[in-house]
């Protein structure tokens, strides 16, 4: 059978199965195996189905994903997210829009000890959203702010998306982590600008809170040692070469557990629940990774990957034209598809094309994370928005989406800046990343 036709049918089957609520990893894996069988025969396809799960699931490099998930879950259980928000509230809450600024600060702080956008959004929805609503903040704008703030979880290191990108493209994960710092800080500044604009133009949506005494303010700072320590150990250890990125994740997970135990905030039942929750999430993610590997083998023998790379490289629009087309493609895909699946499916195609066009692999990692950022908050499938809606069920989805629009607008500006000035991403890893 014609290889291009089989590749096309493979994609059609995969998307059809996904639409019919077949788990994404299963849809990718089954389409991949059936396509592989159509071209190479059932025997080789079945052998692939036996070998790939054992080799993928026992790949030590992938342990970085469950370990960073554990670290984030233990950190939340140890109360670090609440302490970050409390500190932000004490220092900024008396200003108009102050609670919103405190939320963004807390999102950024929590992102530094947690590698997930959804986890950041879910945690902050429980910590900050009730407080903002109690203070009279506009519910839609508050929820939209948390959805956007949640995306800091994948830009500020550690980040599950950077990890996956690094493993797939063999790009240094340490460099990717450092590359995310400045764009993450820029995001916080841009989101804060949006908040200050609304506080100025529509003051009723963001009333000011009570003034905290200086003693209260400094009291909140002393609780932040745990967050700071964990961040410094994980990033500092990688920077100094004390351990690899994979080891850093294990050290971070155990560090968060030890901190929770020492402070008496993690108990046996809570630890058990955290572990089980992390296992569920890890299993769900690694099922997608497994499916992507199976589908990837299929695409390789159809030569779809190589043909697509050739096509992209030879488009008569120049390197930045190709980049723009890819970003438009990601914006469309991100709106209707799971972000992990999107990355796992597309990076093997777009990454080699981008490298042939002369782009930097670390910088392109940051751009990929930006693409995921839009997917997390843009309608109709914005996972952060769904998670917030599942926690604050009385705020309609449409209202949360409306609340995200100002932040999507500044994210577009940020994307443009990161594309126009690659040094915004590359300066830190080139300076200290080694």
């Amino acid at each position: 059978m014609d290889r291009d036709l089989v590749a096309l049918l493979g994609f059609v089957l995969m998307f059809l199965l996904m639409a019919l609520r077949v788990p994404i990893g299963v849809a990718m894996g089954l389409s991949g195996i059936l396509g592989f069988a159509a071209l190479s025969g059932m025997g080789p396809a079945l052998r692939l189905l036996g070998q790939v799960p054992l080799s993928v699931l026992s790949d030590y490099n992938l342990s970085i994903i469950p370990m960073f998930i554990l670290m984030g879950a233990f950190s939340a259980g140890a109360g670090m997210s609440r302490e970050l928000f409390a500190a932000g509230t004490a220092w900024l809450g008396h200003r108009r829009g102050g609670l919103a600024l405190a939320t963004i600060t807390a999102c950024g702080g929590f992102a530094a000890i947690n590698g997930s956008s959804v986890a950041t959004a879910a945690t902050m929805s429980q910590v900050a959203l009730p407080e903002m609503r109690k203070a009279g903040y506009d519910p839609g704008l508050s929820a939209g702010l948390i959805a956007a703030g949640g995306t800091l979880g994948i830009m500020i290191p550690p980040s599950v998306i950077f990890v996956l990108y690094g493993i797939m493209t063999e790009t240094d994960i340490k460099q990717l982590f450092f590359a995310g710092v400045v764009p993450g800080i820029i995001a916080m500044l841009f989101y804060s600008t949006v908040i200050l604009f609304f506080a100025w133009r529509r003051p009723a949506t963001m009333p000011s809170g009570r003034i905290h005494s200086w003693r209260e303010r400094f009291a909140t700072l002393k609780n932040l040692w745990a967050t700071l320590l964990l961040f410094l150990v994980v990033l500092g250890g990688m920077y100094l070469g004390v351990f690899t990125a994979t080891e850093a994740a294990g050290v971070g997970a155990m560090g968060a557990l030890v901190i929770g135990l020492v402070r008496g905030q993690l108990h046996v039942n809570q630890i058990k629940e955290t572990l089980v929750g992390s296992l569920r999430v890890s299993a769900a993610i690694l099922t997608i990774v497994l499916g992507a590997y199976l589908f990837g083998y299929f695409l390789t023998i159809t030569q779809f990957t190589q043909n697509s790379i050739e096509f992209l490289v030879h488009l008569p629009v120049g390197a930045y034209g190709v980049l723009a087309l890819i970003m438009v493609g990601y914006l469309i895909l991100g709106a209707v598809m799971d972000e992990l699946a999107m990355i796992l499916l597309t990076v093997p195609i777009v990454f080699p094309a981008m490298m042939q066009l002369g782009f930097d692999p670390v910088w392109f990692g940051v751009i990929i994370v930006m693409a995921v950022t839009f997917g997390m908050i843009c309608p109709p499938v914005g996972m952060n928005v769904f998670v917030i809606n599942s926690i604050a069920t009385d705020i309609p989805l449409t209202r949360i989406y409306r609340g995200t629009f100002p932040f999507i607008a500044v994210d577009l500006v940020r994307l443009f800046l990161l594309c126009a000035f690659p040094m915004l991403s590359l300066w830190l890893p080139r300076t200290i990343g080694g």
Partner: protein, 163 residues
């Protein structure tokens, strides 16, 4: 009874994840403090991870907590939602059943590979992971039966901490 067994299995698998973190953490400590390493930390971490995740996949299949696209499902009424779930689980079984079979074939034909330090037989670790793959297929069948009888656990709203 089944739920208790599954909850216990899930706790053990989750504990394996903690063991991977602990092995990594203590190995870093031992490396810098005593210039040595925990015997087989690398092989053990890999095997424990494979076992934990394989059993995690089995339990996620039964509980319906895999990551799915819900656009169509959310716009359907109850009966159609159940039909979609039955179809999705049946398709899942279509992948998991041959996967479990092939993993078992590979494990059964595995030579006497051992870990690098303690010389532990790798096939035993792989066999426990393979049992997880079998459990995944069997639990998919169980879920289809329960969905048919309208008693299956519903994974909607389960936490997602990935991207």
């Amino acid at each position: 009874m089944l739920n208790r067994i599954l909850a216990f299995t899930e706790s053990v698998a989750a504990l394996f994840l903690l063991l991977v973190a602990a092995l990594t953490f203590f190995n870093v400590c031992v490396r810098y403090l005593f210039h040595t390493q925990i015997p087989d930390w690398f092989d053990l971490s890999k095997q424990l991870q494979a076992i934990a995740i394989m059993w995690g996949i089995a339990l996620a299949t039964y509980r319906g907590t895999h990551i799915c696209v819900d656009i169509l499902w959310e716009h359907c009424a109850g009966a159609w939602r159940r039909r979609i779930d039955i179809f999705a689980t049946a398709v899942t079984l279509l992948l998991l059943a041959p996967m479990a079979w092939m993993i078992f074939v590979i494990v059964a034909n595995m030579g006497s590979e051992v870990t690098s330090d303690l010389r532990l037989q790798l096939r035993y670790f792989y066999a426990i992971a393979a049992l997880g793959a079998v459990a995944a297929a069997l639990l998919a069948v169980k879920r289809i039966m329960e969905l048919y009888a309208q008693r299956a656990p519903d994974g909607v709203g389960t936490e997602r901490l990935d991207g």
